[in-house]
């Protein structure tokens, strides 16, 4: 990720210049290295896509070139233009994250149209790469949206990492009500040592941690943010331990709860959290 020359072929394939409507720039795509490493051994590849220009006509023209047919079918059935734009932007981020992974691990410059990102079981994105069939089921990817930006994290599956989760939220938005609606008092009390000016940003990171852990476990928040409880916060290292409840497991058994550590931080005006299911 740090060797710029290695990224050169990837950069050349960035941008939608060859697509119809190329005079309109739709989505700006940037690799994002900060959320890709964590103390617990997470090693991922991350990309951010930002809307530079909102134009529904551009979306309709570009979609068949960006999306595979099964993706395009899903895209067509989304309820409105905003949802379609967001979904497509998320696919681009995810495809780029997978392309970065394939470049780094296989030395392979994958065309955008060779990567498929479709909804899988439990809503987790499922990755296909027609050009490298040996990667089938070997790559986990997670997508998050925030304002006009989408990010995606891709990682290779192993016995230490079955799935990954990422979540981002804008640091500049108003988040009034989040402390009361998203946490119990024992969780917010973990931020008592936090300087007042940093508290809102940390609260947002804790929220992202819950979301990222839910995604990594494939259960989301299951309609209740209190399904996942923040147990410990390391303000220095940026680690947040979450006790997650996995719906469907017997509630009387301790095995229904699992502890996962999320790595949190902030960058590019966003709070972020990444987590993996080991």
């Amino acid at each position: 990720m740090k060797d710029d020359s290695a990224l050169e072929p990837f950069r050349l394939s960035l941008g939608f210049g060859s697509l119809p409507g190329h005079t309109v720039k739709g989505i700006v795509r940037n690799p994002w290295s900060l959320p890709t490493f964590a103390d617990d051994g997470l090693h991922g590849w991350c990309c951010q896509c930002v809307d530079e220009f909102r134009h529904n006509a551009w979306d309709r023209i570009a979609a068949p070139y960006i999306l595979l047919e099964p993706e395009w079918k899903v895209w067509c059935h989304l309820p409105n233009a905003a949802a379609r734009r967001r979904w497509m932007r998320g696919r681009v981020a995810a495809k780029d994250a997978v392309r970065l992974l394939l470049l780094d691990r296989y030395g392979f410059v994958a065309p955008l149209e060779s990567i498929g990102i479709l909804p899988g079981e439990g809503g987790q994105p499922r990755v296909t790469c027609t050009a490298l069939p040996q990667t089938k089921n070997q790559i986990s990817v997670s997508i998050s949206h925030c304002g006009n930006s989408s990010v995606a994290l891709a990682a290779e599956r192993s016995e230490f990492c079955r799935n990954v989760g990422i979540d981002v939220a804008s640091l500049t938005d108003n988040h009034d009500g989040l402390a009361e609606g998203g946490f119990v008092s024992a969780e917010t009390a973990l931020l008592d040592a936090c300087p007042d000016g940093e508290r809102p940003g940390w609260l947002l990171r804790l929220w992202c941690a819950k979301e990222a852990v839910g995604k990594a476990l494939g259960v989301g928040l299951a309609g209740n943010p209190l399904n996942h409880i923040v147990r410990q916060v390391d303000l220095t290292q940026g680690n947040v331990e979450i006790e997650a409840h996995v719906p469907g497991a017997p509630t009387t058994s301790s095995s229904s709860n699992t502890c996962v550590t999320a790595h949190v931080g902030h960058d590019r005006g966003m709070a972020f959290a990444v987590a993996k299911q080991g």
């Binding site: 309820p79 905003a82 949802a83 949206h145 939220a169 938005d173 108003n174 988040h175 009034d176 009500g177 989040l178 402390a179 009361e180 609606g181 998203g182 929220w207 979301e211 989301g220 928040l221 299951a222 309609g223 209740n224 943010p225 209190l226 399904n227 719906p247």
Partner: protein, 109 residues
């Protein structure tokens, strides 16, 4: 502006008042401050699919409504479970209003 809405005297608890409280809170979460002309919210609009609320926004909405009703804890998580115990991925504004009316009515002396 937001705080002044929250700190106003508690809602009268009538269905009409609850509807106003819910739509005001939704517009706050959507970033539309009181005093501006908000887009009309239909009762059958879904919080996620139609109004575009993320899970973070839904949590904020729950927190704002909780504050509006004097910090009274409300079991918002039960909103996303149907009668058979299955998870609902989205709920309508009218379901949220009915939920609040039910719980506020239940706690009246």
């Amino acid at each position: 502006m937001l705080m002044s809405w929250i700190q106003q005297k508690p809602s009268s608890g009538t269905p009409e008042a609850t509807w106003r409280d819910v739509t005001t809170a939704i517009n706050q979460v959507l970033g539309k401050p009181p005093g501006t002309t908000p887009s009309p919210i239909q009762p059958d609009a879904l919080l996620g699919a139609d109004l575009g609320l993320s899970s973070l926004a839904v949590a904020r909405l729950a927190g704002l409504l909780q504050k509006r009703f004097n910090g009274k804890p409300l079991p918002f998580h039960t909103l996303f479970v149907d009668a058979s115990g299955s998870m609902l991925h989205d709920i309508s504004v009218s379901a949220l209003v009915a939920f609040l009316n039910r719980h506020l009515q239940r706690d009246k002396p």
